[in-house]
């Protein structure tokens, strides 16, 4: 009997501890937009904040090398035209994705980098999600660190914004969930062991712990689709570019935070 009581007390204190842990982070109440950083545990925040330990820096440093690497028939590097990235690329990533006249569609930062390579450098495009493309994107995005996301959704970009919004709010997959049901309506709550963030894209490309590597915004979308057991779209697809535009607009004002670490 006595031991039963003790077990009950233990179970009670365990439940209390779990409840206390769940309340532990300093979570924003009704605040929007809030970076995914605020929804992470303190250990992951420390990993991101430490310039030595943050594994995203491997990508940024590699990207800095690629910035200067000459390629293609014309023997040009990014630097040949754009010079010092810390000057020329300051704040640039915060304005992507955007409508592009040549493409008559949306283009994101990865797409722009590849377009520069093929159109001006006569060099091979980097494959999507390749180490090189992630690195150069992370390097360029890092130059926009602290700049508030500010994409243009007027004019020809408007229908894409609408398409992105539709994708974001439409239920999909076997779990029949829309992005908004978690990231708008349940942000801050727990999904099993994970805390649901507001789903912003200000840290991408991110080093994601479960991937043990860098990943782009589109890789994250594919992962999210897969997580609700929906059929993912292709990397670089119109659907994901529209969603990317919508999310960048939705998080407008949030400072770019690169290289970010996410769990």
């Amino acid at each position: 009997m006595r031991s039963f009581a003790r077990i009950a007390v233990l179970a009670g204190s365990a439940a209390f501890t779990i409840a206390a842990l769940a309340l532990e982070p300093d979570l924003p109440d009704g605040e929007f937009p809030v970076s995914g950083y605020r929804f992470m545990g303190p250990q992951v925040q420390q990993l991101q904040d430490d310039d030595f330990l943050n594994p995203g820096w491997f990508a940024v440093e590699f990207g800095a090398e690629l910035w200067q690497e000459k390629a293609g028939d014309r023997n040009l590097s990014c630097q040949s035209c754009h010079g010092d990235a810390s000057e020329s690329m300051r704040g640039v990533a915060a304005r992507y994705p955007q409508y592009d006249e040549h493409r008559t569609g949306l283009i994101n930062l990865e797409g722009r980098i590849n377009e520069m390579r093929s159109r001006y450098m006569n060099a091979a495009e980097y494959p999507l999600e390749s180490e090189q493309l992630l690195a150069i994107t992370a390097y360029v995005t890092h130059q926009a660190n602290g700049s508030p996301m500010n994409v243009d959704i007027t004019g020809k970009a408007a229908p894409y914004w609408q398409q992105g919004r539709d994708l974001y709010t439409r239920r999909q997959g076997q779990l029949d969930l829309a992005c908004s049901q978690c990231h708008d309506e349940r942000a801050g709550l727990m999904l099993r062991g994970d805390r649901i963030s507001q789903g912003h894209v200000n840290g991408f490309p991110v080093y994601r712990l479960i991937w043990r590597s860098m990943g782009s915004r589109h890789r994250m979308f594919r992962w999210c689709n897969w997580a609700v057991r929906a059929e993912p779209h292709e990397l670089g697809s119109d659907e994901y570019l529209s969603l990317e535009l919508y999310l960048a607009w939705r998080g407008r004002g949030l400072p770019i935070e690169s290289p970010a670490v996410r769990p």
Partner: protein, 108 residues
């Protein structure tokens, strides 16, 4: 990575007898041999199983690493230098490769 990427933090100059911290981080997947690809093929174990720090030819720190060590292993340790010299780091990969990096320390 096309090549192994290493980050290190070593003070360029220290006072004689001063205790200082050395930190290294190496980009390595540290595949533990228990993971499978999406197609169900087992990923062979490939980890860095040994780390050494050598100062002026003498080993001052060494560590055996096993499969529980995470991706991109980080290590930090403290040292005291009596004279200036060169510190060399060595990481021993399961595939037989040894990755090295070095830094000079000036003792004043």
């Amino acid at each position: 990575m096309s090549e192994i990427r290493i980050r290190k933090s070593v003070p360029g100059s220290v006072r004689r007898g001063e205790v200082f911290e050395i930190k290294t981080l190496i980009a390595h997947p540290m595949d533990n041999g228990f993971m499978y690809t999406r197609g169900g093929v087992r990923i062979q174990r490939q980890i860095i199983h040994r780390f050494e720090a050598v100062y002026n030819g003498k080993t001052i720190f060494q560590a055996d690493w096993h499969v529980a060590v995470s991706t991109n292993p980080f290590i930090s340790f403290f040292a005291v230098a009596a004279e200036s010299g060169m510190i060399e780091f060595r990481w021993y990969d399961d595939n037989g490769e040894v990755y090295t990096d070095s830094a000079e320390i000036l003792v004043t």
